[in-house]
C-alpha cells in the first residue's frame, strides 16, 4: 500500500489525536460488555483454544472474533485491549475518510468529512463497544481508497475482508461493482480482478463452512433465519433513520444534494461513494430491524457527500452573510452532535453489569456449561457448551433444553435473556416451566433477581 500520509495537512492528525485522546479517556464510561461484543470475544476464545474455551455461534463472521481472540490468546485483557483496538480502527476510519475525500474531492471536503465523522454520535459512541461495524468500515474504506488508486486486487481483497468482518459490507462491494459495470463498461478486467481478490477470503470461509457444517452457506442461511425470527425488539418504522440521522448531524440531508452534484459531474470515482451510501441507506431503511449502529458503515460516505455539498455551496455563496450563516450552521451541527454524544454516554454510564455475580461463579465453574447469555463468559476461559438463547427461545427450545439438562454440570440463566417473540403466546409459560424444571432437578447455587429478571446458577 503506497498511500501518501497527510503530512501536508496536520489538521486531520489533530482531529484524530483529539478523537483518540477523548475516546481513551472516556473508556471509564463503559461499564458493561454488550451482547454481540461478548459473542465475538467468546468466539475468539473458541477459535484460539481449538474449541476448549468460549462459545460458538455459526452465523457470525470471523474476522473480528479472530482479532479479539488473538488479543486474549496473547495475554491481553480481551475487553480493554479490544476496546482500544476498535478505537484505533475508528481513528483509521477518520484517516481513510480524509484520504478518500482528498483524493476525490479536495482537502476542505476531506477535512470537514473527517471532522463530521469524528463527532458523529453513533460513530463516536460505538467505537469501543467492540461491535463489527467500525472494523468492517475501516476495511471497506481502505478498499475504496485503493480502488481509487486503481489497485483492484488489493481493493478486492479488502472488500472481502470487510465482508468477512460484517456480512452487510457485501452491499459496498455490490455498489462498487455496479458503478464499474455502469460507468466503466469497457473495463471488464477490473471487475474480474476485483471479484477474484474479493473471493479469496470468501472462498476460504465457504470451504471452512463446508468442513465444519457440511454446508458452505449455513452461516448465511442462519443469518437470514435469525433476521426473520429475532430482532423484533428493534423493529422501527420507515421514518426511523430519517429522524435519527438528525441527531448524527442536523445537516445530513445535504448529503443528498451531494449525490446530486456527483451525478451531475458524472465522475465515476465519486459515483462509488454515492452508490455505496445509497445502497446502504436504501437497504437499512427497507429492513424492519433498525438500530443507529447499523448506519455506522455508511456514515463516512454520507459525510463526504455532505461536506462536498457544503464546500460547493460555500464556493457558490458570494454574500458574506450567507457564508457566515453556513459556518454557523456547521458549528451548530457540530455542537448538537457533541450534545448527542453526551446523551449516549450518560445513558451508558448509568448501566450496571447485572451479571457480575454470575460472572464470578462462571470463572470457577467446570464441566458442561450452559448459559443464557454470552456476557457471563467474557472473563473466564471456560467453554459454554449450550447457548440457551440461541437461535431464539420457544416452546420447542424449552423441550430441547429440558431433555438435555441432565448432561449439564452448570447452568447460568437469566430469565430475561430468553426473550419471547410477541407472536409466541405460549412462550412465557414455557419459560416458567423451564425454570421450574431446572429448580427441581438441579441444585441452585445462586439465585437473585434484577429488574424483574430472575438470575440462577444451577449445578448438576
Amino acid at each position: 500500500m503506497n498511500f501518501k500520509m497527510p503530512s501536508g495537512n496536520k489538521h486531520v492528525l489533530l482531529i484524530i489525536l483529539a478523537f483518540l485522546s477523548v475516546k481513551l479517556l472516556a473508556l471509564g464510561y463503559y461499564h458493561i460488555v454488550w451482547w454481540d461484543s461478548a459473542v465475538s470475544i467468546g468466539m475468539g476464545k473458541y477459535i484460539y483454544s481449538f474449541g476448549n474455551s468460549g462459545l460458538w455461534e455459526e452465523p457470525r463472521p470471523l474476522v473480528w472474533p479472530l482479532m479479539l481472540g488473538f488479543l486474549w490468546k496473547t495475554g491481553f485483557d480481551a475487553v480493554l485491549a479490544g476496546r482500544i483496538l476498535e478505537i484505533l480502527f475508528g481513528s483509521l476510519c477518520i484517516l481513510m475518510t480524509f484520504l478518500i475525500g482528498r483524493k476525490l474531492f479536495d482537502e476542505k471536503t476531506a477535512l470537514l468529512g473527517s471532522l463530521f465523522l469524528a463527532v458523529s454520535p453513533a460513530f463516536f459512541f460505538f467505537d469501543g463497544i467492540m461491535l463489527t461495524e467500525i472494523v468492517s468500515a475501516f476495511f471497506a474504506l481502505s478498499a475504496v481508497y485503493l480502488l481509487m488508486s486503481r489497485k483492484y486486487y488489493t481493493a478486492g481483497l479488502l472488500f472481502g475482508i470487510a465482508f468477512m468482518t460484517r456480512f452487510l459490507q457485501l452491499l459496498a462491494f455490490m455498489a462498487v461493482v455496479f458503478i464499474i459495470i455502469t460507468y466503466d463498461k469497457k473495463n471488464i478486467k477490473n471487475i474480474i480482478r476485483l471479484s477474484a481478490a474479493f473471493l479469496i477470503p470468501v472462498v476460504l470461509y465457504l470451504a471452512l463452512n463446508q468442513i465444519l457444517y457440511h454446508n458452505a452457506l449455513l452461516p448465511f442461511l442462519q443469518q437470514i433465519y435469525l433476521s426473520k425470527n429475532t430482532g423484533w425488539l428493534n423493529f422501527q418504522p420507515i421514518t426511523y433513520y430519517f429522524a435519527e440521522l438528525f441527531k448524527e448531524n442536523v445537516l445530513y440531508l445535504l448529503s443528498f444534494f451531494g449525490i446530486f452534484l456527483v451525478v451531475k459531474e458524472k465522475n465515476s470515482s465519486k459515483m462509488h461513494i454515492a452508490a455505496i451510501f445509497l445502497f446502504f441507506f436504501v437497504f437499512f431503511n427497507l429492513i424492519k430491524q433498525k438500530e443507529m449502529r447499523f448506519l455506522i458503515v455508511l456514515l463516512p460516505y454520507m459525510y463526504l457527500l455532505l461536506s462536498s455539498s457544503i464546500v460547493y455551496l460555500f464556493g457558490k455563496f458570494e454574500n458574506r452573510l450567507h457564508k457566515a450563516l453556513l459556518i454557523t450552521a456547521i458549528s451548530l451541527s457540530l455542537a448538537y452532535s457533541a450534545y448527542n454524544i453526551n446523551a449516549y454516554y450518560q445513558k451508558e454510564s448509568g448501566k450496571v453489569n447485572p451479571y457480575a455475580e454470575m460472572e464470578s461463579k462462571f470463572v470457577s465453574s467446570y464441566g458442561r456449561i450452559w448459559a443464557s447469555n454470552p456476557v457471563i463468559a467474557v472473563s473466564g476461559s471456560q467453554k459454554i457448551e449450550t447457548l440457551m438463547y440461541y437461535p431464539f427461545f420457544s416452546t420447542g427450545k424449552k423441550n430441547e433444553l429440558i431433555e438435555g439438562a441432565a448432561d449439564a454440570d452448570f447452568i447460568f440463566m437469566d430469565s430475561c435473556d430468553l426473550a419471547c417473540r410477541p407472536s409466541d403466546i405460549n412462550c412465557e409459560n414455557a419459560k416458567a416451566e423451564l425454570i421450574s424444571h431446572f429448580k427441581k432437578r438441579l441444585k441452585t447455587i445462586h439465585s437473585s433477581s434484577n429488574n424483574n429478571c430472575q438470575q440462577l446458577v444451577l449445578q448438576g
Binding site: 500500500m1 481513551l24 473508556l27 471509564g28 496473547t74 495475554g75 491481553f76 485491549a81 482500544i84
Partner: protein, 419 residues
C-alpha cells in the same frame, strides 16, 4: 503460557545477553593494528541543507582543526532555501570550495564533492556540528593503522542544555561507547554523519555513498566491512552537534533514523558468517522488532493500569495518578518493583531475576559513557538517566509509526530540514 508472556521472556533473555555482550566487549583487550601508513592530504566535506544557523561555526571549527598535511574543505550547499550558501561563500578560497546543487540529498552531495576532492583522506562533517581542534588529527592517526579504512569518533550534543537535548546527549554518549565496544571486533556499523573519516581510495572502491535510503552513514560502514576492511574508533576525536530541540524537529529526525534503520535492514540483512551479520545487524533488527512489540505492550500496560486504577473509577488525575505515572516513567518504579520482588511481595522467578540483573547492568554502562566522555556527572545527566523510560518509549513509538517504510519499494536519501 500466554504468547505475551513468552514474548516478554524472550525479549528479557535476549536483552540480558545483549547487555552481557556489551560487558564482554568492554573487558576484552584487542591489540590495535600497527601504524604503517601516513597521509599528507585531507578533504573535509561539509554537506549542508538549510543550515544558516550553524554553518559558520561548523566551517570555523574545521578551519581551526589541526591536520598534519594539506587540508581542503568542500562545502556542498544542497539546494538550501535560506542563506546557507551566502554564508559559506564568504569562506571560499583556494582550499575552501563551495558547490551549489539542487536539493538531491546528503549522499548525492557528498558524492558530488568526492569527485573533485584531492585529499587522500575524506572527512565528513555535518554542517550543524563543530569538531574539536584535535579531532581530524586523531582520526587521521587512527587511519594510519593497517587495514583500517574508516574511523568515527565521539558525538556529543552541543545544545545539550535544551531540555529535550539533555536526553539526546546521554543517548549519544552511550551510542559512542557502544561504537567503541563494537569497533573492537570490527562490528561497528555506524560512522556518524556528524564526523567520520575514510581513506578516499577505499571509499571510491565501494562506489562512494549510497543515494538509496536514509542512514547513509550506516550503509557506507557496512559496505566497507563487507569489502573486507576494518573501521576504527578514535576516542579523542570529538564532535559536538546541534540536535533538534523542539518536538517537531525531534520527530522529523527520529523518523528519518527509524526509516533509515528499516532501509538498512531491508538492504543489508543476510545470513552470513561475518560478525556484522551474526551480531550487529541482528541486533538492529531486534531493536526494531522489540520496539514494535514491546513498545505497544508497554504502552498498553501503562494505559491498562491507568484505566484500572483511575479511569474506571471516574478519576482522571489526582496525586495517586501522578505517583502512578512518576513510577512508570522513572527509574523509581523499577527500583520499587525490585524491592517488592526481593521482599516477597511480587513473585520471584527466573525471568524477573534476569530482568532485574540486565536492567541494573545496563545503567553502569550509561554512567561509564558519561564519565568516559564528560569526566563528570551533572544534573543534566542524572535527570535524563532517571527519566530515560519515556524517551525510550517515544523512540519505540516512532519506530512503530515508521513501519510502513518497510513496505515501500523506493528508498530516498533526501531529507528536509528547517523548512
Amino acid at each position: 503460557m500466554m504468547i505475551l508472556e513468552k514474548l516478554s521472556y524472550f525479549f528479557t533473555v535476549f536483552f540480558f545477553f545483549i547487555v552481557l555482550s556489551y560487558y564482554f566487549l568492554l573487558f576484552i583487550k584487542k591489540k590495535k593494528p600497527k601504524k604503517n601508513k601516513s597521509f599528507s592530504s585531507l578533504t573535509v566535506i561539509i554537506p549542508a541543507h538549510n543550515e544558516e544557523k550553524y554553518i559558520k561555526e561548523a566551517i570555523d571549527s574545521v578551519i581551526a582543526a589541526d591536520f598534519n598535511g594539506s587540508k581542503e574543505i568542500i562545502i556542498v550547499d544542497d539546494g538550501s532555501i535560506d542563506s546557507t550558501a551566502k554564508l559559506a561563500s564568504q569562506y571560499t578560497s583556494k582550499n575552501i570550495k563551495l558547490i551549489r546543487t539542487k536539493h538531491s540529498g546528503k549522499s548525492a552531495s557528498i558524492n558530488r564533492a568526492l569527485k573533485i576532492a584531492r585529499g587522500e583522506l575524506i572527512a565528513i562533517v555535518d554542517a550543524d556540528s563543530i569538531i574539536h581542534k584535535d579531532a581530524l588529527a586523531e582520526m587521521a592517526d587512527e587511519l594510519s593503522r593497517d587495514e583500517i579504512v574508516g574511523v568515527c569518533g565521539v558525538v556529543k550534543v552541543k545544545n545539550r542544555k535544551k531540555l529535550l537535548c539533555a536526553w539526546v546527549h546521554v543517548e549519544q554518549l552511550f551510542g559512542s561507547l557502544i561504537r567503541l565496544l563494537f569497533s573492537k571486533i570490527n562490528a561497528n556499523i555506524v560512522t556518524p554523519g556528524a564526523l567520520s573519516m575514510y581513506i578516499k581510495k577505499n571509499l571510491m572502491e565501494v562506489g562512494g555513498f549510497s543515494t538509496k535510503g536514509y542512514s547513509e552513514d550506516v550503509d557506507i560502514a557496512i559496505r566497507l566491512i563487507r569489502n573486507g576492511h576494518k573501521l576504527s574508533f578514535a576516542e579523542k576525536a570529538v564532535t559536538e552537534t546541534n540536535m533538534p530541540y523542539d518536538m517537531k524537529g525531534f520527530f522529523r529526525q527520529r523518523k528519518r533514523f527509524a526509516r533509515g534503520a528499516i532501509n538498512i535492514i531491508k538492504r543489508h540483512l543476510r545470513l552470513n558468517n561475518t560478525i556484522i551479520d551474526m551480531y550487529t545487524l541482528p541486533l538492529l533488527l531486534f531493536s526494531l522488532v522489540q520496539a514494535v512489540i514491546m513498545g505497544s505492550f508497554i504502552l498498553y500496560q501503562v494505559f491498562s493500569g491507568y484505566h484500572t486504577y483511575f479511569l474506571s473509577k471516574g478519576i482522571y488525575f489526582n496525586l495517586a495518578a501522578a505517583k502512578f505515572f512518576f513510577e512508570w516513567f522513572s527509574i523509581a518504579g523499577f527500583v520499587r518493583w525490585t524491592i517488592s520482588v526481593f521482599a516477597g511481595q511480587t513473585p520471584m522467578n527466573f525471568i524477573t531475576i534476569v530482568g532485574i540483573i540486565s536492567t541494573f547492568l545496563s545503567y553502569p554502562l550509561i554512567f561509564l559513557a558519561i564519565f568516559k566522555y564528560e569526566k563528570r556527572i551533572s544534573l543534566w545527566h542524572l535527570v535524563p538517566v532517571f527519566f530515560m523510560f519515556p524517551f525510550w518509549l517515544l523512540l519505540m513509538l516512532i519506530n512503530i509509526y515508521c513501519i510502513p517504510e518497510y513496505f515501500k519499494k523506493e528508498q530516498y536519501n533526501i531529507w528536509k530540514k528547517n523548512e
